[in-house]
Amino acid sequence: MNQRQLPEHPDFLWPNPEPKASYDVVIIGGGGHGLATAYYLAKNHGITNVAVLEKGWLAGGNMARNTTIIRSNYLWDESSAMYEFSLKRWEGMEEELGYDVFFSQRGVLNLAHTLQDVRDSVRRVEANRLNGVDAEWVDPRQVKELCPIINIGDDIRYPVMGGTYQPRAGIAKHDWVAWAYARRASELGVDLIQNCEVTGFVMDGDRVTGVQTTRGRIATGKVALAVAGHTSALTELAGFQVPIQSHPLQALVSELHEIIHPTVVMSNHVHVYVSQAHKGELVMGAGVDSYTGYDQRGSFHVIEHQMSAAVELFPAFSRAHLLRTWGGIVDVTMDASPIMGLTPVDGMYVNCGWGTGGFKAVPGAGWSYAHTIAHDEPHALNAGYGLERFVTGALIDEHGAAAVAH
């Protein structure tokens, strides 16, 4: 029953230093990716003269707005390498960071509702197994065993025809994850600077030599972007574009309920996914709003649609109430895979395009981005994720595993 209680925090987790005049590396964006990158720069590469500049408060962007689904059952080799590496680090995170993150390996079910879904799912399970990722195909009866509250009747619009199950997948508490990285990065010497928006770059020819911020100019030889949906605004200032579109993505929670939902259920076809948070809220989300936008809110019909799908799958939810909805700004690429690597500007690195699914990748992205920044070349994990893939055509098409799914 201690699932419903959270421990007390220490009074403060990190100091709030004034920005220095210069750093070896400036990371822009204090979400999960920026914080994990700072931590691994210090820990794996001994680079500690680092600042993380955040325009608002740490983790106030997508990091503490996401629905925290963690899994590694993606289709392609590049993706399963990145997400499985991350999942292994999630499994050791509390020990590594010495901080609770409530990583709960309650499994993730991805439902199939059509014959095409079934075929795609079985193919993905086989691909996962070849990549050493735990995955199994489960029939409707097994789905019901894993999640007794689900409706597997065949008299609904899209009956459950089975699903894929990854037992090691699960959820964590996103804000605690951010604080865990922030605290360790800060202890290793990283300056975490909040309320500091980057508004421009200082350039020397093709090389970046500093950033302009709302708290003054800061000199640096290396600038690492980790601003998710806001990446285009910054790359425009640096004179290049990234192939992303920024969309609102919404989520919602109900009031607290008894713990009735033992796993995580996702359905690409009926467009909803549901888990139950540690304290008992039902957490739901779906796909992005169709239009681009930066307002951290979307349209209500998207929420209505996902709730009607949820109620059909989980009839018991018809008595629950919508307590809170919110949105984040997610950076969507054409192949539903992220972008990480060097840029046309010397000394500038980009990590974006994680779209609706970058929370689960925080450890692996931080690890490989830190390597990219330290060595001026990609790590094996992100070698396929550079901007050049849009020119060579070597796309990593994860729409099947990532489009709605998070």
Partner: protein
């Protein structure tokens, strides 16, 4: 929910419309002459502004016609709708 003013039918709820992304992206006049970089631009790169954006909408549950709109991506306010054949209207947005 947005209210979108179809130039053919008048104001209707967003649920009647489909979104078509950036407007005024011309098909390459001579596709065979494009380099790989130019193909990448045409296929994968679209503007992603914080502010006014000219974009396509389809009134799929109404007159089923495409048209263009100028929408501010910071507050979703639509300041102009116009036919596909028309150029983007010149305007100054509040606050821009």
């Amino acid at each position: 929910m947005l209210i979108i003013d179809c130039p053919y039918c008048g104001p209707r709820s967003e649920t009647e419309f489909g979104y078509g992304g950036q407007a005024h992206v011309a098909y390459p006049p001579d596709p065979h002459a494009l380099t790989d970089e130019e193909w990448a631009q045409y296929l994968f790169y679209r503007d992603n502004p914080k502010g006014d954006r000219a974009e396509r909408w389809l009134h799929s549950a109404g007159c089923r016609r495409w048209f263009n709109a100028v929408r501010d991506t910071r507050n979703y306010e639509i300041s102009a709708v116009y036919r596909l054949s028309d150029p983007r209207p010149h305007q100054t947005t509040k606050g821009a």
